[in-house]
Amino acid sequence: MITLDQVRVTFNPGTAIETRALQGLDLHIPEGQFVTVIGSNGAGKSTLLGVLSGETLPQQGLVAIDAEDVTRWPTPKRAGLVARVFQDPMAGTCEALSIEENMALAAARGHRRGLGRAVAPALRGLFRERLASLGLGLENRLKDRMGLLSGGQRQAITLVMATLNPMKILLLDEHTAALDPKTAAFVMELTNDIVRRSALTTLMVTHSMRQALDYGDRTVMLHGGKVVLDVAGDDRKGLSVEDLLHMFTKVRGEQLDDDALILG
């Protein structure tokens, strides 16, 4: 159970470039729900992810994971509760380290790190097994540097890394946006499999309305730092991109002018 209660974030407060990124955002995500989030540029999607991951600490409001108030927790402290896949394939892994070293870093997420061997032999077997399930042949390249892999391969590994340890929420930050269409489709299917198989509580930010409706249990639209649309269940079934746009116009009384959203 994830709770965001009246969360407010303002960047550069009191200056000429003051930006009110989140203006009293409320969002409650029950355990096991897969939520997709859409919104135009500046709607607050990235800030929402930042608030959940701890990279951005809100000025006001409450962020809670289960019963725990994590509002003031910095990123490393809540890493045991939050797993994340970034938009940039380079951001989620260390390219200078090997595949197995990257996975060992993720295998220690939420645990105390000691002076024992990071890539223990027992872990290697687990890594090989998880990588084999991707069907990319990466299980034979454990010692290869991450930098040698393509963006799609890296995103696939990042997904596997995110799920090596239990989490309370999985954050996906437009994680297919930087990939070519075929690879993006592969990574999205993989994401869906992983999320469904383990019934992970997931929040996926996407630029594509199509993707937002095709995947997940619930779609949330952000605008001006608030939730303006929230559809789930029967209301969401059979909903088209046009319907969604129409609903938005009705709610806001204004036209959505971001082409990137419509074309996606």
């Binding site: 490393p76 890493a79 260390c94 390219e95 870093l105 790190r113 024992g116 061997r117 990071a118 890539v119």
Partner: protein, 298 residues
């Protein structure tokens, strides 16, 4: 080159191998350009020499020197991660401050270690040829430091430290407290440099407040040289490259100084080192810009 000059070069190569390992931790592992070493090398020398003169056992004095070096590195890292001072500037501040600190520790610009026992005294009792006796201890310490460092960097904490330098945002997302890793890494790095200073003082017969000038450039030259001769794919190879690069660098210097026909003198050393480092850092990027690349893609 005479065999004495040869063994001398290996000896100082091993000694500065410790400095190189320290520079490797800050510059390569943590991606933290750290000039503290110019102050922490004489700090190690000053602490060890002063304590030995006051009758403290040499081994204890050497360990105290390492602790002092760790403190210096910690201060630099603290200025950076807590007070948000730019990393390079933070290290310069500590380096400058250490100049005064070192003078305070010694009470004067230099402390002589003549006629007192040092960590080298037990080795001298082995009655090896005089040009080998210091070398044996240097080799042992350098080997131990390399083994420990490789073991550490392959541990869970060590891997977390490498991730901190390679991709801090990802490291934090994996639950790594990157601030703490920077503090720890900088302390370890400068402890190694201070150890080199402590040993240097004991083998050279004293500590001098100006003995650290340009150490960082020498260390960096050795790191770059090592990377040029060995692929640094694993931590093992990277650590070996540090020590190898350091020895090679000293060899090259000894050769250059021995070849009297070039007309180089000892005082030209720092200028040559600076030119070499500048070349080593620009050549890889220059290569890509030249229109007539050999064998590469057009």
């Amino acid at each position: 080159m005479s065999s004495i000059a040869f063994f001398g070069a290996i000896e100082s190569g091993l000694l500065f191998g410790l400095v190189t390992l320290g520079v490797f931790i800050s510059f390569r592992v943590l991606d933290f350009p750290d000039l503290t070493v110019d102050g922490s090398l004489p700090l190690g020398a000053a602490v060890a020499a002063t304590l030995i003169v006051h009758g403290v056992p040499p081994v204890v004095a050497t360990l105290a020197a390492m602790l002092a070096g760790a403190g210096a590195g910690f201060v630099t890292a603290w200025l950076n991660v807590r007070l948000k001072i730019l990393n390079l500037l933070a290290s310069i501040l500590t380096m400058i401050a250490l100049y005064s600190v070192n003078l305070r520790i010694m009470g004067r610009p230099n402390v002589a270690l003549l006629g007192v026992d040092t960590v080298f005294t037990p080795v001298e009792k082995l009655h090896l040829p005089y040009y080998l006796s210091d070398l044996v201890l240097y080799a042992a310490v350098c080997l131990a430091a390399t083994l420990l460092l490789v073991w550490f960097l392959n541990s869970q904490v060590g891997l977390a430290m490498r991730a901190t330098g390679a991709n801090a945002r990802m490291a934090r997302a994996q639950g790594i407290n990157t601030d703490r890793m920077t503090l720890l890494g900088m302390a370890v790095s400068n402890a190694l440099v201070a150890l080199a200073g402590a040993l240097f003082a004991q083998s050279q017969g004293g500590a001098d407040v100006s003995m650290g000038i340009g150490v960082i450039v020498t260390g960096l030259a050795a790191v770059i040289l090592g990377e040029a001769i060995l692929p640094t794919r694993t931590i093992w190879l990277a650590a070996l490259a540090c020590v190898g690069g350091s020895i090679l660098y000293r060899m090259a210097v000894a050769l250059a100084l021995n070849a009297s026909f070039i007309g180089l003198q000892a005082q030209d050393l720092k200028l040559i080192t600076a030119v070499l480092v500048a070349l080593a850092m620009t050549v890889p990027s220059m290569r890509g810009k030249l229109p007539f690349r050999r064998g590469g893609k057009a």
